[in-house]
């Protein structure tokens, strides 16, 4: 997943990676080390603007790890995110890429949003599962964190760490973040989520705002995805199997970013 996300990052983009997203931390740092040394990278609420292209790093277990501050080139207070993220770098830094070429206010290009449920229209739920009667929650989720805030300025990738019918559902119980249809209805900037990425597959969205299967990771069939996804979907006309990670990609990821095996231990837990 980290390699696939890194491949979709373009040099010069503004990338925001939040909490409990070791996959997106790894993806963004991999991109910065491999092909995109000019991305402006915010790691969690701790480090605003990090450039690790030539630095040794250790993928942290939390987004607040003090040791990350050694990579930071500027740090702001967390509540000032929307005031200052865009400040340094100058106007020329941003020109092109379809975003306002300004450094006056907080604008990001890409963000990564988790979900305990994701549905066919790309709505995500971090709040919980509905209970019966007076019980509000049958299952209480972690909360919406800053996802509904960040999406007012950046395009999210939705990630789920388990591909099953409990996570990928026909309709979410609560909406923390809209898919493309709610996105345009409520006038958020941009077009809304770009992908739903799981350990098995990547979905994009068709013109109706419905998830379509665009790629599978090696070893996963379309049939497997159909059997383990709680909503029906069409195949993207450009569907293909995703090229496996190269030796170089894996080498940089495992040796230069995640020497402690945080991604592997997170996957097995």
């Amino acid at each position: 997943m980290a390699v696939a996300l890194a491949r979709d990052i373009v040099d010069g983009e503004r990338i925001i990676s939040g909490a409990h997203t070791e996959i997106s931390f790894a993806a963004a740092m991999l991109a910065q080390k491999m092909h995109a040394p000019n991305i402006k990278l915010q790691l969690g609420g701790t480090c605003f603007l990090v450039n690790v292209s030539d630095l040794p790093v250790r993928l942290p277990k939390t987004s607040t790890d003090y040791r990350m501050l050694r990579w930071a080139e500027v740090a702001f207070d967390h509540m000032e995110t929307f005031l200052y993220f865009g400040a340094p770098g100058g106007r020329a830094y941003y020109e092109g890429g379809g975003r306002p070429p300004t450094n006056k206010y907080f604008v990001g290009d890409k963000f990564f949003a988790g979900g305990i449920q994701v549905d066919r229209e790309g709505n995500t739920n971090m709040i919980g599962l509905k209970g019966e009667g007076a019980q509000r929650f049958r299952f209480r989720g972690p909360g919406s964190i800053g996802i509904p805030d960040i999406v007012t300025v950046a395009t999210p990738y939705i990630f789920v760490t388990h591909h099953d019918r409990r996570s990928l559902v026909p309709r979410v119980d609560y909406v923390s973040m809209h898919g493309p249809n709610g996105w345009s209805l409520y006038k958020y900037p941009g077009r809304g989520p770009k992908w739903i990425i799981t350990p098995r597959a990547i979905f994009t969205f068709d013109a109706k705002g419905h998830a379509q299967l665009s790629g599978t990771f090696a070893g996963t069939s379309v049939q497997w995805v159909r059997e383990n996804t709680g909503f029906s979907f069409e195949l993207d006309p450009e569907f293909s199997e995703i090229t496996e990670p190269t030796g170089e990609e894996l080498d940089v990821l495992r040796r230069e970013i995640d020497g402690d095996g945080v991604l592997r231990s997170a996957r097995s837990s």
Binding site: G146, V175, H178
Partner: protein, 310 residues
């Protein structure tokens, strides 16, 4: 007009606010609204949190940081909390969702005020500025304003765009952990400050735990580094964020956090004896923070400190 001449005779001393943690915790009453600073697994004022549990404080409304951690989970599990205001309660890979929080929310034992990071920040900013409300765009059209009627949809009267009106939040106390403070209540952080400066400005009163107490001259060497001025209470608390990290001093004590998480899983499953055993062993079974520290093995603390420089 008669103006009395002034004199230095009888001049009152400058107010000093250094106190021990029991006296500080006693300032917080049943039913108060408290804000707890720090972020995730970092910079939580644990001596005060543990003292509140020892004192069996009840019916608190707790406003967590934008990413609140297991310090709030502990207060919930210990039965101190009536209402919780936080956009997240957990500890990432250590515990994606706080286990006590999850059980209490599912059982309806605590009221959950559904929010997001910037809805909450906007509410605190409104409080800090003395305004009735602030506008914010995040959360428009989601389930959040349905679950929380405090958030009122409206259209921007100038451009017609949809917004939420978010009311100022009242808080009696903000309780924060800093690197150093002086006896007059000036506190400075040792790394990331997260939302702490805003949290301190939104509350009626501020309480600090500090890794070390320094002379006022040390504060004046770098006044730009002062994140909180004139707090109402300062408590000297070396290792005061343990088992969490204190930026500039030590990283997370992962073994101690794992021990907490295991106990909180027992709480979630209704294994009361296991949870109470943990509280006795690590929270309530000590007279004060000094005794808490004495019970930790020295190599434990050396390891988390050295990791900062590793």
């Amino acid at each position: 007009m008669k103006l009395e001449p002034i004199s230095r005779a009888g001049r009152p001393a400058r107010r000093q606010v250094l106190m021990d943690e029991e006296d500080a915790a006693a300032l917080i009453k049943d039913g108060d609204v408290i804000i707890v600073g720090g972020f995730g697994t970092v910079n939580h004022p644990m001596p005060i949190i543990r003292a509140l549990v020892r004192r069996k404080v009840k019916n608190l409304t707790v406003i967590g940081a934008a990413t609140a951690g297991l310090e709030i989970d502990l207060l919930i599990g210990a039965g101190c909390v009536r209402k919780i205001i936080a956009p997240y309660i957990g500890a990432e890979l250590h515990a994606p969702i706080g286990h006590c929080f999850r059980r209490a929310a599912e059982n309806g034992d605590v009221e959950v005020y559904e929010t997001t990071e910037y809805l909450l920040y906007s509410q605190l900013e409104a409080a800090a500025r003395g305004m009735g409300f602030m506008p914010w765009r995040g959360g428009v059209g989601t389930s959040i304003p349905n679950l929380n009627p405090d958030y009122v949809p409206f259209n921007d009267p100038i451009h017609g765009e949809p917004y939420l009106a978010v009311p100022a939040l009242h808080a009696d106390w903000a309780i924060l952990h800093v690197a150093q403070a002086d006896v007059f209540g000036n506190g400075q952080h040792g790394g990331a400050r997260f939302g702490d400066r805003l949290l301190s400005r939104a509350a009626e009163r501020v309480m600090l735990t500090a890794e070390r107490i320094v002379p006022n001259s040390e504060i004046r060497k770098n006044p730009w580094a002062t994140s909180v001025a004139y707090a109402d209470s300062v408590v000297e608390a070396p290792y005061g964020a343990h088992p969490f990290a204190s930026h500039g001093f030590y990283v997370e004590d992962e073994d101690a956090i794992s021990e907490y998480v295991a106990a909180s899983v027992a709480y979630r499953k209704g294994e009361v004896a296991t949870w109470n055993g943990y509280l006795e062993k690590r929270v309530t079974g000590f007279e004060n923070h000094r005794a808490y520290l004495a019970a930790l093995r020295g190599d434990h603390l050396a390891r988390v400190c050295n990791a900062v420089h590793a």
